[in-house]
Structures are given as structure tokens and as C-alpha cells.
């Protein structure tokens, strides 16, 4: 029984079958990559997982509870965090404030009227936030405005914002899209480091084979909205069906 169980999920946009009978199980504490060519339904699947889309049929269970029909914030409160393709951070706020906000969300839930409290007096939040910044090597940048960070640091910050909530499942949406090779490698290292330090399940939606084979323990190949094959990276590499689906697109 995986931490995330997707069963018979279908999603249709007009005449287009975006997801057709998707069955997928992600085991706890693994790094599971979902790959596939453009239009394979990766983004649609991700949008279902984060609560942005509701499938036409099927079930998605996270830790024994259905996530379907829940708002994105409810799904996050269940323990699923999401990293975006381009880092989504609070650009106008300082690095430290960026990290404090998820701390408040974790501690206080989806809404709490602490209008007369003082951010300055929240010592436990400060400690948690400092610890995670230390963890991703950004403590000395805590007073910088987030928009002035380098792209790599923005990625780090976003990771810190997700990790500070101690999610049980981290969803990564093409975390290296549009990056230069050096940045890609840095991101891979960062993710490896994160995984080594804690128990966390990661689901990576990815296009770049290099990233996938560096990180993933299990790989699901999606084609035309349906899982084609699921296996370990070694077995996937030589799989004829995968080569066929990618039609030379992959640099395997």
C-alpha cells in the first residue's frame, strides 16, 4: 500500500482524453518520477493531485484519505507540498518572512485570526524558520528581499518553504525546466541532500531524463494519458516501449 494511491482516474477535456484509466501507487519514502512526452498528461495528473482539477472518475487516496474535491490548501494541510516549475515565492517579502509563513500555516492551520499577536514575539516560529534556513545554507541571506535572490537561491528558498512544513509527500513539477546544465546539477544535488537528511516521499514530474535517472527510484512512463510502464530506472532505460513513446526525444 503506497502513501499515494491513484486508481482508475479519467479526465476528459472536450474530445481530448487527457487522462485515461490512470493507476499509480507511490510507495512511502521513495523518489518516484513520472515522465512522458509532451501532452502525455503529466500536468493534468499533477493538477489533479494538487486539487486544481477534479477527475471525471476514479479515486486518489493519500494516506488512506481521498483528496478529490478538496481545495489546494486542504490538500497541503494533509501533508502534500508542491514545488513549482519556476520558483513561486513571496517576492516582496524577506527570505525570513518567506519561511515564516509556511510555519504559521503548519502551526495555525488554514485560518487563524491572530491579528493582535506580534510576529516578533513568535519565538518557536523563529527557531523553526532559522533551522530550515540553516539547513539549506541560506541563514545569512535571511534579511534579503526574496526577489533579489539568484535563481538557484529562489529554488532553495522554495524548497525550504515546502520542507519546513514537514510534508509527507513533496510534488515537484519539472524542477529544472529551462535551467542551464550547471543549475540543473545543483538542483539535483539539493534534492539528493534533502532526501538524504529526512524521510520524505517525492513525486517528480519531469521531462529531463538526466534528472530522472539521477534521482528516481521508481519511474512511471505516461503516454497519451495512460501509464505505459512502471519500473526501476535500470529497467526503464532499455525498455522498447519507452523508446517508442519518446521517438528519439529522450537522451537515454
Amino acid at each position: 500500500m503506497g502513501i499515494l494511491e491513484i486508481k482508475g482516474v479519467n479526465k476528459r477535456f472536450g474530445g481530448l482524453q487527457a487522462l485515461g484509466d490512470v493507476n499509480l501507487s507511490i510507495a512511502e519514502n521513495t523518489v518516484h518520477a513520472i515522465i512522458g512526452p509532451n501532452g502525455a498528461g503529466k500536468s493534468t495528473l499533477l493538477n489533479v493531485l494538487v486539487g486544481k482539477l477534479i477527475p471525471d472518475s476514479g479515486s486518489v487516496m493519500f494516506d488512506g484519505q481521498s483528496i478529490l474535491g478538496r481545495q489546494p490548501y486542504e490538500i497541503n494541510q494533509m501533508g502534500i507540498s508542491r514545488v513549482f516549475q519556476t520558483p513561486e515565492i513571496f517576492a516582496d517579502l524577506t527570505v525570513f518572512e518567506n519561511v515564516m509563513i509556511p510555519c504559521f500555516a503548519k502551526r495555525d492551520g488554514a485560518f487563524r485570526l491572530h491579528a493582535l499577536g506580534s510576529v516578533g514575539h513568535e519565538t518557536d516560529i523563529h527557531e523553526t524558520a532559522e533551522a530550515i534556513l540553516e539547513d539549506v545554507d541560506m541563514l545569512e541571506k535571511r534579511h534579503m528581499i526574496a526577489s533579489s535572490l539568484s535563481r538557484g537561491d529562489k529554488r532553495r528558498l522554495e524548497m525550504a518553504m515546502c520542507l519546513v512544513q514537514k510534508p509527507r509527500l513533496l510534488l515537484l513539477d519539472e524542477p529544472t525546466a529551462g535551467m542551464a546544465r550547471a543549475d540543473t546539477n545543483n538542483t539535483i544535488d539539493l534534492l539528493k541532500e534533502i532526501k538524504a537528511k529526512r524521510d520524505i516521499t517525492m513525486a517528480i514530474i519531469e521531462h529531463d531524463m538526466h534528472v530522472v535517472f539521477s534521482l528516481a527510484e521508481r519511474i512511471t512512463v505516461l503516454a497519451q494519458g495512460t501509464p505505459l510502464v512502471e519500473d526501476t530506472p535500470e529497467n526503464i532505460k532499455g525498455h522498447p516501449k519507452v523508446r517508442e513513446a519518446y521517438l528519439g526525444e529522450a537522451q537515454v
Binding site: 513571496f90 509563513i101 506580534s118
Partner: protein, 400 residues
């Protein structure tokens, strides 16, 4: 002090002192001098400073922190005024029930309007609030509710005021002007020193006290976790949603708080002068609130108060300057040049005040999005030898 950090405490104390001593330092010119027309220390104007100050402090909690631009905020001001006048009509001229009801009623309106409007964001939110405000204005102006009920509620074009045959159940032998347990709002003490004449007005001090209280609450909200979440809504609402925060209740709370501030301002306006009309809710009034906030520096603590003060001062002063006055100023010039200068100045003064306002507002939006506060910071950065990093870090915190 009072749960504020040092910087905020200093700012708070400065504002308190300014409010308390305004009748003195806003009257720098002797009564008989040619410059006395620039004095702002008379009660009617000072009341407007602090009451509109309350209004924009509240508006700033919504627009400044969350970035949601309400274009119909004057509706709450109007609702507050109507509620207060009704209390005068039904009970007595004691302002306590009037102000309590104006805050409560505007809060209720804000719950309903906010609940509906906040289902959309961005420009849709602005237009929804505008639509609601215009609707309420039309209802008040044609007294739709009153015509259905059979007796005047807003009294249409005439406006609502207190008549002798109103019930006023609790009036008894009490004062016949607004008062706080007998302390009449229009009472004042005049203090003549040399050529100066300083008026200490009860109504002003009451409104001023409310503004100080409002300002204090605003500081606390700005520095609270709640305030931090509101600022992050402005910065990246999507991120917040995927971070486990349900933004709508936060937004609604901010909306209702700012609506209640506006209701308080409306109640105080009615307490200073117990009559009101639908025009207080017209969308130009809402536009004025926006202009005040932007001019002063939206998102900063002190900016909107400065903006309200500057606009109300300019409105009073510039609109009373006429060509004769300008001729007086430039009398030292040769005649031709004098006429030329007066002709240039003419469109911007007197009745042309709104033109000046519009131009100044545009200039601020284009060149100085941070308003007067940003201007102050830029000037400060030029004159002091502070490192630029200090300036950068002080612009980011909504302080000053």
C-alpha cells in the same frame, strides 16, 4: 511599549503628539496676517484630517496589505453616517450608541459585500466593489428602501437629518447637539496669545482620540502574523494556497475590518454634524479614498494619514485661492509678467482644484508609486550619508 517595537512606538508617540498639538502648530500665522489663510488649525478642517485619517488607515489595511483595490469604500462611510443619524433620531444626541451602531452596521454590510466580492480577485474585485457601492448610492439616493417601507430611511436627495418631531426616546433634557454624556461636540476653548488664536475643539479631540486608537490597532495588525499573511496574499496568493492557507477568510477579515474603520469614520462625521446624504457614498468619494492612500504611500503605516491630511488641506486651501490672491503674491513682478503668471496659475486654483489633484495623483502613480513616504525616504537618502542598503531595507518593511 504596548506590544510595539521601538520604531513603531516612536512613530506612534509622534502621531499622538501631532494630534494633540495640531490646533497650535497648524495655526502658525497670526490671525491678522496675510498668510492666515494658510492656517489649517480650525476645527472643521482638523476634524476632517483625523476622520479621513481613520478612513484611510482602514482602507490601507485592505489595499495596502493585501493589494485588493476596493473602488467602493465610501459606501461603508455612508452606511456609518446613516446609522449614526438614525440613532440621533431615535434615541438621543449621545454619540455612543450612534458610533457603536455605525461600526456594527458597516461591519455587517462589509461581511455581505466582502463575502460576495472576494469570490473574485484583481480587476473583477474592483468592479464588484464599485458596483455594490454604486448600487447602494442609488438605493440611498432614490430611498428605495424607504419607499418600500413607507417612511424615509435615507430621505433621498434631501438627505437625512434630525427633526423636532423625531422620537428621540432618550433625549429628556439632554443637549440638542451631539454630545458624549453631556460633553458637547461643538464646544471649544479658545486661547488667544498675541496675534494668534488657538481653538481647542471638543469634537476634534474626540475624533483625534479615535484616530489614535485606530492607528494603534493598525500598527498591531501590521506587525501581527495576520498582517504577514495579508502581505503575502498581495505578494503571491497562489503560493499561499498551496501552502495550506485558506486566503478567503483572511481577506474577508481584512475587508470587514477596513469596512468597520470606514463606518467609524462615517459615524464620527455624523457626530460632528448630525446630517448626511447619499452623495457621501458616490463613487467619486471612493476614488478620493484611493487617491489619499496612494498619495501618502500605500502599504506604509503613516502614508495614508499624510495623504488624507495633504488632500484635505489642499482641497480647503487651494480651492479658496482666487485670482485676486494670486495677483497679491506676484504683485512685485512687472505687470505683463504678472498677468502671464496669473494666467498660468489660474486653471489650477480655485475651482480648478480637482485638475491639480488629478495631475498630482497621476504624477505620483507614474513617478512615485510609494507616495510621499517614498519621497521622504529618497530625500532622506540624499541628505544623510546613510548607506543605500539601509534605505533598501527600510522600504521593504511597511514602517514609517
Amino acid at each position: 511599549m504596548f506590544g510595539m517595537n521601538r520604531k513603531d512606538t516612536i512613530l506612534f508617540v509622534v502621531v499622538c503628539v501631532m494630534v494633540l498639538l495640531a490646533p497650535i502648530f497648524l495655526n502658525p500665522f497670526p490671525t491678522e496676517s496675510a498668510f492666515s489663510q494658510f492656517n489649517a488649525g480650525y476645527p472643521a478642517l482638523m476634524q476632517r484630517f483625523v476622520i479621513f485619517g481613520i478612513l484611510v488607515i482602514g482602507f490601507n489595511i485592505l489595499f495596502g496589505l493585501t493589494g485588493y483595490l476596493s473602488f467602493g469604500h465610501a459606501a461603508f462611510l455612508g452606511v456609518g453616517s446613516f446609522a449614526a443619524v438614525w440613532m440621533f433620531k431615535l434615541l438621543s444626541y449621545n454619540i455612543v450608541p450612534a458610533i457603536v451602531l455605525s461600526v456594527v452596521v458597516s461591519g455587517l454590510f462589509a461581511v455581505v459585500i466582502g463575502y460576495v466580492s472576494l469570490r473574485r480577485s484583481g480587476i473583477y474585485f474592483s468592479i464588484l466593489t464599485l458596483a455594490f457601492a454604486q448600487m447602494m448610492y442609488s438605493i440611498a439616493y432614490s430611498d428605495l428602501v424607504g419607499k418600500i417601507l413607507g417612511f424615509p430611511i435615507t430621505n433621498g436627495e434631501t438627505g437625512l437629518q434630525v427633526y423636532n418631531d423625531d422620537p428621540q426616546f432618550l433625549l429628556g433634557n439632554g443637549p440638542t447637539t451631539p454630545h458624549l454624556f453631556g460633553w458637547e461636540m461643538n464646544g471649544s476653548v479658545t486661547w488667544d496669545i498675541g496675534g494668534w488664536s488657538f481653538v481647542f475643539h471638543n469634537g476634534y479631540y474626540l475624533a483625534g482620540l479615535f484616530m489614535i486608537l485606530s492607528f494603534y490597532i493598525a500598527i498591531r495588525i501590521f506587525r501581527s502574523p495576520f498582517g504577514l499573511i495579508l502581505r503575502s496574499i498581495k505578494s503571491n496568493q497562489q503560493r499561499l494556497n498551496y501552502m495550506g492557507v485558506s486566503t478567503r477568510p483572511y481577506m474577508l477579515t481584512a475587508f470587514v475590518i477596513s469596512g468597520m474603520y470606514a463606518g467609524l469614520a462615517g459615524g464620527l462625521l455624523a457626530s460632528m454634524d448630525p446630517l448626511t446624504g447619499a452623495e457621501r457614498m458616490f463613487w467619486t468619494a471612493s476614488g478620493e479614498i484611493v487617491i489619499m492612500s496612494i498619495l501618502g504611500g500605500v502599504g506604509t503605516l503613516i502614508g495614508p494619514i499624510l495623504g488624507a491630511g495633504v488632500i484635505k488641506y489642499m482641497e480647503n486651501i487651494i480651492s479658496t485661492i482666487n485670482d485676486t490672491v494670486v495677483h497679491g503674491w506676484f504683485g512685485f513682478m512687472p505687470d505683463g509678467l504678472e498677468d502671464f503668471v496669473v494666467a498660468i496659475v489660474h486653471p489650477f486654483i480655485g475651482k480648478g482644484w480637482h485638475l491639480t489633484l488629478g495631475l498630482v495623483f497621476m504624477a505620483v502613480v507614474i513617478f512615485l508609486p510609494g507616495g510621499l513616504v517614498e519621497l521622504g525616504q529618497r530625500i532622506g537618502a540624499k541628505f544623510s550619508r546613510k548607506k543605500t542598503t539601509d534605505v533598501a531595507s527600510s522600504t521593504k518593511t511597511p514602517a514609517e
